[in-house]
């Protein structure tokens, strides 16, 4: 039963990883930008939430929409300014700029907030509250809630991209920038919108990470970026459901690894990542060719 429990816990954590991954996946899909600052931006969102809660004493859940809006605005501005400037100068510059941002943010957070980790107090009752199935499986409401939130975000994003006017515009620009431009779409603005959405999901991811464990300046890359990337690779490019599957596989692999040996948690996840990279580089769901 302990194994079943581990798998269920891993599955729930996988939702969080999918949430980490969807912003990364979206920005790559639309702008072909691999945002190396992705994880650190999620950490920034977490710290903004910490700040908002400390100042205004709003409940954690209320801080989510505020931070999402703030991060979306930041995303639009960053995209229209330096990321766009980098894109026009080539992929090397884009990598340098996002890597630079990552290092600046991580060290900046360390300067201002020290290396100590902080939690987002959801209220102990909610963190520990859980329901049990049988004698050994207990599911925390918080973890379940985050998993459901992840599915809702992915589903919403999928629907938005396929149904709404802006969603169609984003897909058009992602498919063929020049053709979309010729049809009257300002691709820079569309990129900005896509970045705003990506940053919005990043904000949710950062806050969820803060609720489920703690945030510290270094988790941006050590945890969020690398796990997000592993999820994307495992699941396969270009599919949001693949991303969810990748996140779940990563989460389950980690949980099973932790069940075997407490210190193998992260390694077990990466072992699956490397296995997929070698055996099925296009990912579990995708049939296409890896770019």
């Amino acid at each position: 039963m302990a194994w079943v429990n581990a798998i269920i816990q891993g599955l729930l954590t996988g939702g969080l990883y999918a949430l980490f991954a969807c912003g990364l996946s979206l920005m790559f899909g639309v702008m072909k930008v691999v945002n190396l600052a992705h994880g650190d931006l999620a950490t920034v969102a977490g710290y903004i939430a910490v700040g908002i809660i400390a100042v205004s004493h709003v409940p954690v859940l209320w801080s989510i929409p505020i931070v999402v809006v703030l991060m979306a605005v930041l995303g639009y501005i960053l995209q229209r300014s330096i990321i766009q400037a980098a894109i026009t100068r080539g992929e090397l510059t884009t990598l340098i700029v996002t890597f630079g941002l990552s290092i600046i943010i991580e060290n900046g957070l360390q300067q201002f907030f020290t290396a100590n980790s902080r939690g987002l107090g959801v209220g102990d009752s909610f963190i520990t509250a859980s329901f049990s199935i049988g004698s050994q499986i207990s599911i925390a409401y918080l973890n379940l809630g985050i998993f459901v939130l992840a599915v809702v975000v992915l589903l919403g994003l999928q629907q938005y991209l396929s149904r709404s006017k802006y969603g169609r515009l984003i897909r058009a620009v992602a498919d063929d920038r020049e053709a979309a431009q010729l049809s009257g779409a300002d691709y820079r603005h569309v990129f900005g919108i896509a970045a705003a959405i990506a940053f919005g999901t990043v904000a949710i991811a950062g806050i969820c990470e803060g609720m489920i464990t703690t945030i510290s300046p270094t988790i941006g890359t050590d945890t969020i970026l690398l796990f997000a990337f592993a999820s994307v690779v495992i699941g396969g490019l270009g599919s949001l459901w693949g991303t969810l599957l990748g996140g779940v596989v990563l989460g389950v692999a980690q949980a099973v690894g932790a069940q075997i040996n407490g210190s193998w948690e992260t390694l077990a996840g990466y072992a699956v990542f490397l296995l997929v990279l070698v055996v099925r580089p296009q990912g579990l769901t995708s049939r296409g060719v890896q770019s």
């Binding site: 691999v34 090397l92 890597f99 290092i103 990279l277 770019s291």
Partner: protein
């Protein structure tokens, strides 16, 4: 220095192609003089300054390697700290069995290069951004594996045996000479590599990968060669780092596997000028000056270095050296070719001459 081109002018006059428009003899003498001065430095300055120079030389070695990767082979690796860390452990482990750390430096270079081969196989098919994060993951995996091995100190690290008991100032001087040797070999190695056939292959790939591939250039093999060579250089630098710190500490913040190392090498390359051998040297000087000026403000030097690197990447893509080169047309390490116009001679006053690279 003059190479005879296979083709000749219609008039029958042979085309003259050299490595550089200027005479490289003088810059060669200059480089030699700089090395001699640097070699003699520990006799004239205190161990404090020598220690700072060791740091600079480590970053210089790393930056030259990153420049080779990103500037010439288009491989933007964010995981070079993996090889730095492996190098440190390849000095530590033999030292624990009685091998002197100085000999360990060779083991570090070779060991890191050997490790690079299977790692390359894992990331070879990934391009640019995905390659970057994948190397980052690999560095993380290598660190996690090493942290599991308790005989080399697990997650806390180990002091480096085999160097205790001597005069501290003498040890610093020896470390400095080791670091200088590694740096000179690294830069010299990059220079020779780029002047060899591999350099030509890399230029072909950079200009048009598809065309190079269809002309029979073995693109993957050339890239792998660069990846392995860069691993060897970073490994040797990691070995020097272990000797300098007299310990090997894993871990992502402050340890040998910290991404900060890759940040420093990448920023130095970008600021100095990517795709030139001189760039990393200039960038390292900028790094060292900033780091020493701001050393009492923790990581602020890295933040400022990052901001400068972003600004340079956007506004002056060729970096400091590239900008200088544009104005003055100087090449201390010519790796390209210069095609002389018929009748042009070295003596002629400066024309808007264009050096092909």
């Amino acid at each position: 220095m003059t190479e005879t081109a296979k083709t000749s002018l219609r008039s029958g006059e042979p085309l003259k192609v050299t490595r550089s428009r200027r005479n490289v003899f003088l810059s060669g003498i200059g480089a030699l003089a700089v090395i001699v001065v640097l070699f003699l430095l520990p006799y004239y300055v205190g161990p404090g300054t020598t220690g700072i120079m060791v740091q600079g030389l480590i970053v210089l070695t790393l930056a030259s390697m990153w420049n080779l990767l990103a500037g010439y082979a288009g491989l933007v690796s964010v995981g070079q700290q993996a090889f730095l860390g492996l190098g440190a452990y390849f000095v530590l482990i033999p030292a624990m069995h009685g091998v002197t750390p100085w000999a360990g430096l060779f083991i570090a270079a070779i060991g890191a290069a050997v490790c690079a081969v299977p790692l390359w196989w894992l990331v070879a098919r990934l391009r640019l951004g995905y390659f970057a994060i994948a190397t980052w993951v690999l560095a993380s995996v290598i660190m996690l594996v090493i942290e599991q091995i308790s005989s080399v100190g697990g997650g806390t690290g180990m002091p480096l045996p085999g160097l205790s008991g001597g005069d501290a100032a003498v040890l610093t001087a020896h470390t400095y000479w080791a670091a200088l040797t590694v740096a000179v070999l690294a830069i010299g190695g990059v220079y020779l590599l780029l002047r060899s056939k591999i350099g030509l292959v890399l230029t072909a790939i950079r200009d048009d990968e598809r065309a190079a591939r269809s002309s029979g250039v073995r693109v993957g093999l050339a890239r792998m060669g660069v990846f392995v060579a860069a691993a060897a250089g970073c490994g040797a630098a990691g070995g020097v780092l272990a000797i300098e710190q007299l310990q090997v500490v894993p871990g992502t913040s402050g340890g040998v596997f910290s991404v900060q190392w890759t940040a420093e090498m990448a920023f130095a390359v970008i600021i100095g000028g990517i795709g030139t051998i001189e760039g990393p040297i200039l960038g390292t000087i900028v790094y060292l000056v900033l780091q020493q000026t701001l050393q009492s403000y923790n990581a602020w030097y890295l933040i400022i270095l990052g901001i400068v690197a972003i600004a340079v990447a956007i506004f002056a893509r060729r970096g400091l050296w590239g900008t200088l080169d544009e104005r003055l047309n100087i090449r201390l390490f010519p790796v390209g070719y210069y095609l002389w116009a018929p009748g042009e001679s070295r003596r002629r006053k400066r024309q808007p001459a264009r050096a092909g690279s």
